[in-house]
Subunit: 341 residues, 4 copies
């Protein structure tokens, strides 16, 4: 069946499967210490133009968020996030599970406002009773956001400046980073993003890998004994080669970026089609997720032949639904969708 | 280089890679709800002769132990394990991280004695002051153990009976289950083991898969909302297909067991070689891990051409080292080792 | 100095000190098993007209909230609270420390709306993706609220009905319960409140005791091994007599209620004075906390001779401040305040 | 009834009750910021000859252990304790509840051997695989121990030296500190102990107070935002005056030490009586706890007229029982016991 359900409905880019096969019988040590994982990390450092970065390969986005946030926060601290942030609403309380509060601020189409963050931090640190409250200890954003939007270069500079002003690390969830960086609306490069963030992760699972997210501590600032902290949270893979091989391939000859570009092209085509067919967009997303307000009747009918996601209730007659493209989307699929809309 | 370092130095059995490739572009829903994962689970239930079993595919052994133990224990409870148990010594405190104590009892070549477990439980529940202590809430064993040994059918019956007498679930860590079940010393079948345990996991990572462990709640006894509990611990894979495909292949036509048998044959050959060369075995292991007491000088020299694991100090002149075989060990590798010993 | 800073600025009611002295050399067993503690619990059950209630004496409000909430919630669950709820903002993340999220809903002068709670729960349980979210598992309210307001009998019936409809326990934080029950605006009795709640606590620290809060599980529904859960959280007092004696005195001859009545009378006098002096009330509080919007200049000057609390910024020129009465407030103190305002 | 059950069967020293009464109506700010608490802390610093010490007043021993250990350890660390240590066996898993393992070493009559601690630490840090293990991060001892024994000055110097060699803080649980310091067998002063430890607590509950333990960070090394960490664990008392007044009295004119001396004198008298009556001591305790091996029949009979504690099974016919003296023990009580033995 035709599917635009998410960006993780297919397996991996063929070059990845090929590399897994080619290296399959090489005996490699475990836990990410193998030569291929080291090569992947070196390539990522290079792509980020961050020679002092420390890179760790984890298996999924919630895992990466949970490990990074819980290992960087002090016990009395919580993490600031937009009210729509993934860590706030869609991770089953994984942050709270580690003992920390998610401190939510208003979401502006998925984004935090640096002014509001500054105001919040100023007020908090000025409050004489703050000893009875959770201390803000980190700022979490996603790029692209959960709603497909992007921070502009200026906006990210603003947030980064506020964070540095108050001594809080800025953490960027890049589950769909390839689709953000390759959007026409993006005025940032990966090295710039790495420069503005203290830690971020490069999403693999949604951008061409079978599994894997590369956490980058941008300036040699990984928590001490970070491998042990990963193990303690149950997330250290014995066969580190699995993620090592994949990121090594993704960061060879710019494959990661090419995959991003393809998804963005497909999203452009999809968006044009949706508008052409008179669909009403819920949000103006320049990335691979397109949100549409659709009559419930049409949704029901369309579902018979296409898979896509229910996002939220809009009003009594309409719902918000999501169509995703990815590195694997074929132009023919969009043509086929055209016939059904 | 020749390597007997562990049972996770190679990738996956070729049939697995092939299946990953074949299904690569099938659009599948995420989080383990896809048809291939469902098929894998059905095959596992069948292999266990446990039609009411609930099966969940996780990514690694520590993760499986952490999730199963923390989700089944009540807050006031801890888990009983042998002092050599993996959860007690080699998981970086992953169990304590979730708030629970590991209650250790003596290790008899890696195994718990059912008599000692009974005595401990009797004494605990008879103690009027036990309100100030951690309540024992589960028994954890590994099969094979961390030292390569196996519980006999009678021993496992004994432990299972004690657990049922006191109402505690019995949990079996089967990271190397294939190598236990296929050992000549094993007088148990998988259905028997499934019948005696309340929950166990079938190790994939060390037995032919790239990643993956299949947790089996043997009689419909999975904790409520178990998928949410997995997510909360950061361990829910978006592309459930990755583990689904692998276990589907492993449990088709008995591949899992054939892989176990091969490793056991190779271990027999290895053991014969070690004895022939006058090596002193540290423990009498009937499975794929062979432990040897070796002079430190010999270790140093041998390491130049073979990889193997340091296990523990033995005395001033000797150490205990470990040689592992696996599903991927080639007979030629052992022949080559013969020349070096 | 004259002080209206809080309701915990004095020690204990003299009858309590007297009882501590009288019983001081009686040798009593520890941990709340002594005869005086048992007597106190029996008196509380009687005052609540809840013969099957289980009563536990704890030392403070945050401790009571943390223990009750974390021991009653399942792991995948969070607690619903108003955004102004004490557990949400003023307990330094004590709930999250135990692994649980506080799910906030709008605060209506400190109160939850039962309609909004119902709508939230309906939407949550109807959402097919709720497996990736924190499950609501309890409703927390305070009576009186942090803003001094009270739920009416009807409002509490409404909330209790929603909770029972969805199978969630209703928990009432009664840090200032005496001051709520004795307010002229209160149309509820303690037995009615006990009947509507599944668990609540009777505040001692702010209502005449040196220390102590009595947690009441209203219908024999205390979590199993609750004493061990208290101990595990570090909160089991060795000398249980300390809280036992105090609650025994407070619930003898209705002292607790008389203390409440006194504070309410003093609050009435204080409120009349504030209005007479032209002060602008921030909220219409019928209990012992009175919130006033005051020019910053006046605050500064008044502080030279009276202690009171800064509550929040109001605008550039004014702040919200709080004046508290308590069981110990003397009429003369209000007369004195009259001269200063 | 005559009772030697524990050292917390009575209330508080009369001077404490008197001070509570005298200060009862002084309006004081909350949370330990009042002048009396500050005075108590100053007196403690002086008694410890530790002018840079930071002192915090908590309510109980398990609470103090839980807060100190969990706030000083890094996430990947556990605390070393003797297998008989209170934190290991009698605190219902309060340390594990905060995510940390208790790493047990052999108990030598309740004490750790500094040689064994050094050997353990050396082996741990030399192990190349220690990334998969819990890092030792602190050493916990009790003084006196749970068995009434004392570290000699030399032994404590030894432990302190090992801790400093490896950079681990040394923490001393002084639940019964008065009874240790005043023992004839003690060759240490409080300032010396404060000098050797990085953090310790001065027990109040068992040494004359109604409630309260004074945690002393000996050299300005309290964790940042420690008050918030206390609040987060539910343990910040609103009426800090309650513990403030008590420690202020205990550390005025050496009362704390006098109370200790009295209990030791009574213990000497008790011990002489026990030996005179032919009782067999289980351990040679120079402090206020005396352990006796007693035939089960005699225990049963004696219990009709005296309260004392069952400690442990000794053999089929005998048990180990404990008799405690305290600051409140009357000589007449021992004379009375003489008639019953």
């Amino acid at each position: 069946m035709l599917s635009f359900e998410s960006d993780y409905i297919e397996g991996a880019h063929p070059a990845i499967l090929e590399a897994l096969e080619k290296t399959n019988f090489e005996p490699l040590p475990g836990y990410g210490t193998d030569a291929i994982s080291l090569s992947a990390k070196a390539r990522i450092r290079e792509a980020c133009a961050a020679p002092n970065a420390e890179v760790f390969l984890l298996s999924g986005g919630t895992s990466a968020n949970q490990i990074v946030i819980s290992s960087m926060l002090r016990q009395e601290e919580g993490v600031i996030a937009a009210s729509t942030g993934h860590v706030s609403v869609h991770e089953a309380g994984a942050i709270e599970y580690t003992g920390h509060k998610v401190l939510t601020l208003p979401s502006h189409e998925g984004k935090l406002s640096s002014e509001e963050v500054r105001a919040f931090l100023s007020a908090f640190f000025a409050d004489a009773n703050n000893e009875h409250m959770v201390f803000p200890g980190m700022v979490y954003i996603s790029f692209p956001t959960e709603l497909g939007t992007l921070y502009s270069r200026d906006e990210l500079f603003g947030l980064s400046a506020v964070c540095r002003e108050f001594g809080l690390p800025l953490y960027i969830d890049g589950a769909r980073l390839a689709y953000g960086l390759e959007s026409a609306a993006c005025d940032l490069t990966l090295p710039e993003l790495a420069h503005l963030a203290d830690v971020f992760y490069i999403g693999g699972t949604k951008c061409g890998a079978l599994i894997g997210e590369a956490v980058v501590f941008t300036h040699g600032n990984a928590p001490r004994h970070f491998v042990t902290l990963i193990k303690q949270r149950g997330a250290l893979l014995a066969k580190g080669r699995l993620t090592g091989v994949q990121f090594d391939v993704l960061f060879t000859d710019g494959l990661y970026f090419r995959l991003g570009r393809h998804a963005i092209e497909m999203a452009g085509k999809l968006r044009a089609l949706l508008l052409e067919k008179g669909c009403r967009l819920y949000i103006d997303s320049p990335t691979n997720q397109q949100f549409v307000i659709m009559p419930n009747g049409q949704i029901k009918k369309l579902r018979e032949s296409v898979a896509f996601s229910f996002w939220d209730r809009f009003d009594d007659e309409n719902s918000i639904v999501r169509f995703c493209t990815s590195w694997a989307t074929k132009p023919e699929s969009i043509d086929e969708l055209a016939k059904l809309l």
